[in-house]
């Protein structure tokens, strides 16, 4: 308990540090409403995908197929939307079609989640392999469906999800806050959430405690798939298009964001609040460096260094506390 507490303190310190550093580097540019708004537009994509990654990491697994599922379900949604109403063709907006398209997209990602859950829980394949397989398969299906082209031209109401403002707050941020809150609720307040944590820290003990391990795993990967589907809606509406290889660089980033947020790579520990702080740190660093005109790639390198640094600091404080306890 003490340890987790100190990890949160380190994270919050890192967040304040990142904020102050970027403020000093950028001057008043950094603390303007515009900048906060643009950060709030950018954060949710990686945020939603990281939630999808984190829930599987809590069980000691990993889900490499989230980006591929997000792209496939985005493509399905975009195909239905552009087939039935094309803004250029001047067709009217039909809410029925929009709901149908979004539901179809979510259904696809839920099915991929179920497939992952089946492979991990029932067939007993290690998660990294099972989801690597589905990642390649699903990506392949997305390429087959689109033949590698971009599907673009979405109706206005859908684009609003990615680009609209409600009371000055970007719409994607509202979606992200709702989803993060829901995830926190599921993980901390429901039996499934408790089981996910237990399964992650010790599957054998969890099994002997009378938990149906396979069922918990299937639910976990289903949840992960659905979150990837929600990320898909935000992604296609922000880009106003769908493609088989959008956001591939996000995949490993979601692992890093989860770990930076305190999720243990071996499972069992991790909080949504930590992940949210981690995402804010990463977003502030990337927006701040972008404002000074630093290359995107340097930002990615700095993200990598921050993660190693935070893990090293966590390890050292852990060692220090242990030594004090023994003496």
């Amino acid at each position: 308990m003490y340890r987790r507490h100190s990890e949160t303190v380190i994270l919050i310190l890192a967040m304040v540090g990142a904020f102050l550093l970027m403020w000093i580097l950028n001057g008043t540019h950094f603390v303007q409403i515009d900048n906060f708004q643009s950060m709030a537009f950018q954060l949710p994509e990686l945020g939603l995908l990281s939630l999808a990654m984190m829930v599987t990491m809590l069980t000691g697994g990993i889900n490499l197929s989230i980006i591929a599922s997000a792209n496939l379900s985005g493509i399905i949604t975009a195909m239905i939307l552009t087939y039935y109403m094309n803004p250029e063709a001047g067709g009217g907006v039909s809410w029925g079609v929009i709901v149908l398209a979004i539901c179809a997209g979510l259904l696809v990602s839920a099915l991929i989640g179920l497939l992952n859950g089946f492979l991990v829980a029932t067939v007993d394949i290690s998660p990294i392999l099972a989801t690597l397989g589905t990642m390649i398969l699903v990506n392949g299906l997305a390429i087959v469906l689109t033949k590698g082209y971009v599907i673009s031209g979405l109706p206005d109401p859908v684009r609003f999800v990615g680009n609209g403002l409600v009371l000055g707050i970007p719409m994607p941020m509202i979606v992200f806050i709702a989803c993060a809150a829901l995830m926190a609720l599921i993980l901390n307040r429901t039996p499934t959430g408790v089981n996910i944590h237990m399964l992650g820290s010790n599957p054998t003990a969890c099994f002997f405690a009378g938990v149906n391990n396979p069922a918990v795993l299937i639910k976990t990967y289903l949840l992960s798939g659905v979150y990837a589907g929600i990320a898909a809606i935000v992604m296609i509406s922000r880009f106003n298009s769908a493609k088989a290889d959008y956001g591939e660089s996000y995949l490993l980033m979601t692992v890093l964001a989860s770990v930076l947020g305190g999720t243990s790579a071996s499972g069992g520990f991790g909080r949504v609040s930590g992940l949210v702080i981690a995402l804010i740190i990463l977003q502030m660093v990337s927006s701040g460096l972008n404002l000074i005109g630093v290359s995107n790639f340097l930002t990615i390198a700095i993200w990598g260094m921050i993660i190693i640094l935070v893990m090293v600091v966590n390890y050292l404080t852990d060692q220090y506390q242990r030594r004090r306890q023994t003496t």
């Binding site: 990294i128 390649i136 390198a301």
Partner: protein, 331 residues
Amino acid sequence: MKKLLARHETYVLLAIILFSAIITSVNPSFLTLENLFDLLRSYSMMGIFAVGVLIVLISGGIDISFTAVATVAAYAMTVISINYGGNMLTAFLIASVIGIALGLINAVVIYFFNIPSIITTIATLNVYYGLLTVVSGGKWIYALPDWFRSFSDIKVFTLSSGEGVGYGLSLVTVIWFVIVALAWVLLRYTLLGRGLYAMGGNVASARRAGFNLFFLHVFVYCFMGLMAGIGGVVQVLLVQTMAPNSMVGKELDVIAAVVLGGASLAGGTGTLFGTLLGVALIAILSNGLTLMRVPSFWYNVFIGLVIIVSVGFSAYRRKSKERRAIAVEVE
């Protein structure tokens, strides 16, 4: 026979024979020496990476960063060779030294700060690749030295096909096979190699048995770095271009090939023969799809299916074996 059926490699080999038969029946030009040599040449980068990945997996770790290490090593090799001259030996030497150095960083972080290898290497992948792209500006280099260009065309022996075009076993393939042979001796006959299996099987037991775990970690990740360096140079030899973005993103494909060959992500198991078969399976599959004139966008669907079916099958065999073991215990 029973012993043979208990081995994972047998099933991979059967799958390879099956696919080869199907492909040959559709397009006979698959089963020619020319195509074989061509495959052996073009998959030598993946094959060399796979040897490194196998050793990391055996030791119970994982390395995602090797494509970035390879890119950095190959880029440095190209720039130094163009500006200061040199020969093939210095080219491989530069890439190897850089690969080993970057591998050492991975090893030190993983061992001293107890950070899981997957997290460390994902982070260092981004650090190495990000910094390289900033330094290089992401520019492709085409103007390679002549001695470098001609090296990739050297063949150990040459046969000539009907149209008078020569083909043969490329020297690049020989490099790959020499590495495989050395790694085989290392894993099978040296204390170091057995130590890797011991560490992958059970870290605590390996420590009690007297293995120096720090040294083993350093060896594993430096070896991976060395393979990445050599593989990077081989890639530049094959495509005759130094493209900074050509390798990063392929790391999961290589890991998939190694795992298809029977290595376990939990560590402690895996053979070089299996790894060769895993690479061969992937190579034959994508080459075969081309020869059967399947549109290229179907590739990933097939490869994904093969991976899922194959790992599913071996998981199923392991599970039924466990069930049998438990049944014996009860009786």
